[in-house]
């Protein structure tokens, strides 16, 4: 693993992402439209627990949509160049870090739209924020590996969601629990355990991706 190469790769990813405005803009419109539709359907009458569940469902679909194309951009020639030039671990680490940053931004934007359109009363905002940050990085880690798998298998979106939803379940369940505690304003001591598990899951996912990706790479 080479730190210099990782930072170069991440820079390249960001450059590409901002140059192709359609892809980033597409996600923003996707999130905004979904939140708008939910706002219209619920007409402002929504209880906190449904508010919470709906938020995570929207975020889950948005994150699968974003990361499903993270390996799509690699054309055949570019893939060969990357294969010769970078090691597998460098490449997946760069992808994961890039996806984590992107997902953090998107989840914050989703939260912003969500509170703007639908409203919401979060008692313990800092707990909610930490949960959101940890889970979006976790989602990004899992989805990076899943999109690498899906890209090898003809890359269709349905396959991507079939593969990733069940694997994401542990994170989703813990996040929903944590954010519910944040909304209800429970004290921090109740949530430490779950925050620790969420952080540990992040580490576990990164380790697994590092272990397994080289086998996908040598194709």
């Amino acid at each position: 693993m080479n730190l210099n190469q990782i930072s170069t790769l991440i820079k390249k990813e960001f450059l590409l992402e901002f140059r192709q405005k359609a892809s980033l803009g597409g996600i923003l419109v996707y999130v905004a439209a979904t939140v708008f539709i939910s706002a219209l359907s619920f007409k402002g009458q929504i209880h906190t627990h449904e508010w919470n569940a709906l938020f995570w469902v929207i975020l889950l679909f948005a994150s699968v949509t974003i990361s499903s194309k993270s390996f799509l951009k690699e054309t055949k020639g570019l893939g060969l160049f990357n294969y010769v030039y970078y090691s597998a671990r460098t490449f997946i680490m760069a992808k994961i870090i890039f996806n984590m940053v992107l997902m953090l931004i998107i989840s914050l934007i989703t939260l912003f739209f969500y509170i703007w359109f639908i409203g919401g009363n979060i008692q313990n905002f800092s707990l909610f924020f930490i949960t959101l940050a940890l889970s979006s990085t976790g989602f990004a880690g899992v989805l990076s590996l899943m999109s690498a798998i899906a890209s090898k298998a003809n890359n269709n979106f349905a396959l991507m969601s079939i593969l990733s939803f069940p694997v994401l379940m542990p994170m989703v369940m813990i996040s929903i629990r944590l954010s519910r505690q944040a909304i209800d304003g429970l004290s921090w001591s109740v949530s430490y355990d779950f925050l620790l598990i969420l952080a540990a899951l992040n580490v576990l996912v990164i380790m697994l991706a590092n272990l397994l990706f080289p086998y996908l790479w040598n194709d």
């Binding site: 079939i162 813990i174 086998y215 194709d219």
Partner: protein, 220 residues
């Protein structure tokens, strides 16, 4: 004698069917006679978990050696495990109808864990059938298999912290926990576990031999 485990499995399962239905069991609230389901429902799940672990073992072996034989074994073990989950669910659903009053509930971590496990293995089968290139298929499905198994184990470990289980022995329900499972029941329960694990290994061996022959046929 290399077929000892086949004979053992038949004998043990027959033994547990007879003694499981006729033997004496403690009278517990709610459970009553349905406690006998312990002899059939729980060992089947153990056998399924055993098969899934065999599947992972061969998936890791395949990634380390790139020998297609191991990958076929891993796939076969996953299929047998998936097959075992069907009687596991049916016995569980019937039992739940008579004790909890419903066939399925989303309040129980074990049921949710099983549902996610089944989704994961279905995804694995779909992934494996959606790739046509053999080498690619073997490698990608082995990677997914390992990743999904680890996440499933994590899920099963975390879930009980999130919701209390309705299963006997959890959350103050009367059960075959440490104190309730008497020695009579142990005499049937432990052989049942060994019997079902041997039985699953037998099915696995038969299916594996067919799969290996097919692999050889395709190679020619």
């Amino acid at each position: 004698m290399k077929n000892w485990y086949k004979i053992l499995s038949v004998l043990l399962i027959l033994y547990t069917i007879f003694l499981g239905l006729l033997g004496s069991v403690p009278r517990l609230d709610i459970l009553n006679e349905t406690i006998r389901n312990l002899y059939y429902h729980v060992p089947i799940w153990f056998a399924m978990l055993f098969m899934m672990s065999v599947s992972i073992w061969y998936a890791i072996k395949y990634l380390l050696s790139s020998n297609a034989v191991h990958e076929v074994k891993s796939f076969t073990a996953a299929k047998v495990g998936f097959f075992l989950s069907i009687p596991g669910i049916i016995t569980g659903c019937l039992w739940a109808k008579f004790t909890w009053g419903t066939y399925w509930t989303f309040q129980d971590p074990k049921l949710n864990g099983v549902a996610i496990g089944i989704l994961i293995y279905m995804a694995y089968f779909i992934l494996r059938s959606s790739i046509t290139d053999e080498l690619k298929r073997a490698r990608i499905s082995a990677v997914y298999n390992i990743f999904a198994y680890v996440m499933l184990i994590v899920f099963i470990m975390i879930l009980p912290r999130l919701t209390d289980s309705l299963h006997p022995g959890n959350g103050g329900n009367p059960a075959f926990g440490k104190y309730d499972l008497d020695n009579n029941m142990r005499l049937v329960f432990y052989p049942a576990i060994i019997g079902w694990i041997c039985f699953s290994w037998w099915i696995f061996n038969v299916k594996n031999r067919i799969a290996q022959l097919n692999l050889k046929l395709n190679d020619q």
